[in-house]
Amino acid sequence: MTDLATNVSQPPAAGAAGRSLWATALMRLRRNKAAMASLVILLVYIFAGIFGPMLAPHDYARVYPDFVKVPASLEPYPRMDAVLPAAESTARRARLEARNIELDGNTLRLEATSRREIDPRVTRYFDRSDLFSNTHIVERSADGRSVLLESQVERYRFIFGTDANGRDLFARILISIRISLMIGALATGVALVIGVAYGATAGFLGGRIDNMMMRVVDILYALPFTFFAILLVVFFGRNVVLMFIAVGAVEWLDMARIVRGQTISLRRREFVQAAEALGVSAGGILRRHIIPNTLGPVIIYMTLLIPKVILLESFLSFLGLGVQEPLTSLGVLISEGARNMRAAPYMLLYPSLALTLLLFALNFLGDGLRDALDPKDR
């Protein structure tokens, strides 16, 4: 609490008398434990979304054909007891008869014979597998019909397991967090710009124009939402960026209503009338006086809009309308997990957990911000 007091005592912008709205709001927010915890979680998510895909041990699109649907575990793959059979079957594929296979740490030694002369390029059969790398021939008999191969065993960790195509689920969750957050930010941004501009204009101009503009909003409200979203996807094709814009273009209606209401009440205030009397243009008054004063409710609504948008994107992706392969989003991962839940329940659990936690954090933060910014219970 002490750092709180010092922070409040020296606000940079606020005058000597009292605290500014924002300083008060910040103070209230800091006291809200759920909101602060959500903020931390959200920061972790943002960090994971931006840097996670770079730091992850696997690429999100890299396919490991030998590790399809391996369950989540902390142990590295391949398991020790799986290496020898794998080496044997690889040798068989290379038309070699494996006679003596031994595993020494991460080095595999294999003695093999063949009825015909062995091509030195057989090592490629081993390197092609995900299990082995750097295979080379150590010894070769004089007739060329038996060789001693040495190969490095590659070991991978898949802490969240792999999906039905053998891609690392952890890396895929990280990239889908990036996609979800990007969609949340971009679509909300689009909704914000359209909604604020539309609502402020309608409220400021008033009269018949306001009536007409709000009638358009009412009509758009009446259309079934899924229908609208599907049509947008049909028109724009399955393009991620256009999806963001389409979702944002659907979600601006509430924003427009909120801003319009605020604008109507602001319009009658003295400072707006004074600006009008001084001859400031309508656009100038909107930009300089009206819009900055609507920010409080807009920010609150925005934080609650972000989870809504993320949910919407996940829903569309779940229906197969959203992000396309090899990119992925949490909705796609969840729908894949639902299809594979009997054989690989972890494929459903981890993405569901990731999405739920993100939505929780955003909702709690939004509620906290609303409580903090609501001037009614100051």
Binding site: T226, F235, L359
Partner: protein
């Protein structure tokens, strides 16, 4: 009262007409057609198909023909579900969706009201916080997460209930879909009831009832709850319309033959008639439930009258 209902229903006709017109042209403007395949059909076949379904006629003629059929109660044949008319598809799917939605609505009302009342009566106690936390959970977790998780836990791991399927509508098959549908509604109803109940308990008429010395249970159930129901009623109107017309997610995950899937599948495959049929059904439900909401308002709040 009856006059009011008739007037409202007549007033809904232009609305429905607008919805039909808007969705008809929106569907047709969208690129692609119902007979687009990975491998294009032979030109002659496509031509014949288009002729049979009148797709070769100009758009306005198709529109007028559709309106004419609609006036006679004919929704036309489905394009993707061959050999089925849209009426047949809706007639087989709608009762299932309505059964699921109706049960979910009932569950949501009962549990939501009870939880909301308990929370409001014990405001700021741990019970209250518990209810609010559960409600936040119910609103936050999307149904496409809840449905597969329930199916996994109760259907696969515990093997207590069927993981999916309709099973002729047996009660065991209904449990999981109904829970999935009801959970978010329970949460929202509980939150609404809690908020309005806290207000209602402070209102004058409840104080008067207390002063009369009425028993506490009577005050809560008869006097406070009646006022507290109003926001729930206005929320549940559109929500009930949405619930009863089926959910794509729940029907897909649990493999149920309701009408929720038709909407998405129809729109994706440009099954024009099927989409139109579903849109009309949804619009009718919305109109009817808005009317029911208004009538219930008059019933619950004596200040509201329709003459």
């Amino acid at each position: 009262m009856l006059g009011y209902v008739v007037r409202r229903l007549l007033g809904a006709i232009p609305t429905l007409f607008l919805v039909v017109t808007a969705s008809f042209f929106l569907m047709r403007v969208a690129p692609g057609g119902p007979f687009d395949r990975e491998r294009a059909l032979e030109a002659k076949v496509l031509e014949n198909l288009n002729r049979v379904f009148h797709l070769d006629k100009p758009l306005w003629e198709q529109y007028l023909r559709y309106l004419g059929n609609l006036a006679r109660g004919d929704l036309g044949p489905s394009f993707i579900y061959r050999d089925f008319s849209v009426q047949e598809l809706l007639a087989s799917g709608l009762p299932i969706s309505m059964q699921l939605g109706g049960l979910a609505l009932l569950v949501a009302l009962v549990f939501g009201c009870v939880l909301g009342c308990i929370a409001a009566l014990r405001q700021n106690s741990w019970v209250d916080y518990g209810v609010v936390a559960v409600a936040t959970f119910g609103i936050t977790v999307p149904n496409f997460v809840v449905a597969p998780l329930l199916s996994l836990v109760f259907g696969v791991w515990l093997a207590m209930l069927p993981a999916g399927g309709w099973g002729g509508g047996s009660p065991a098959n209904l449990v999981l879909p109904v829970i999935t549908l009801a959970l978010p509604q329970i949460a929202i109803v509980a939150r609404l009831i809690r908020g309005s109940m806290i207000e209602a308990l402070r209102s004058d008429h409840v104080r008067t009832a207390r002063a009369y010395g009425l028993p506490a249970r009577m005050i809560v159930i008869v006097h406070a709850l009646r006022a507290a129901c109003l926001p729930v009623v206005s929320y549940l109107g559109p929500a009930a319309a949405a619930l009863l017309t089926g959910s794509v997610v729940v029907e897909t995950i649990f493999g149920l033959p309701g009408i929720g899937r038709y909407f998405v599948q129809g729109a994706l495959n440009r099954d024009y008639t099927l989409v139109m049929g579903t849109v009309i059904i949804i619009a009718v439900f919305v109109v009817v439930f808005n009317l029911i909401v208004d009538l219930l308002y008059a019933l619950l709040d004596p200040r509201v009258r329709y003459d």
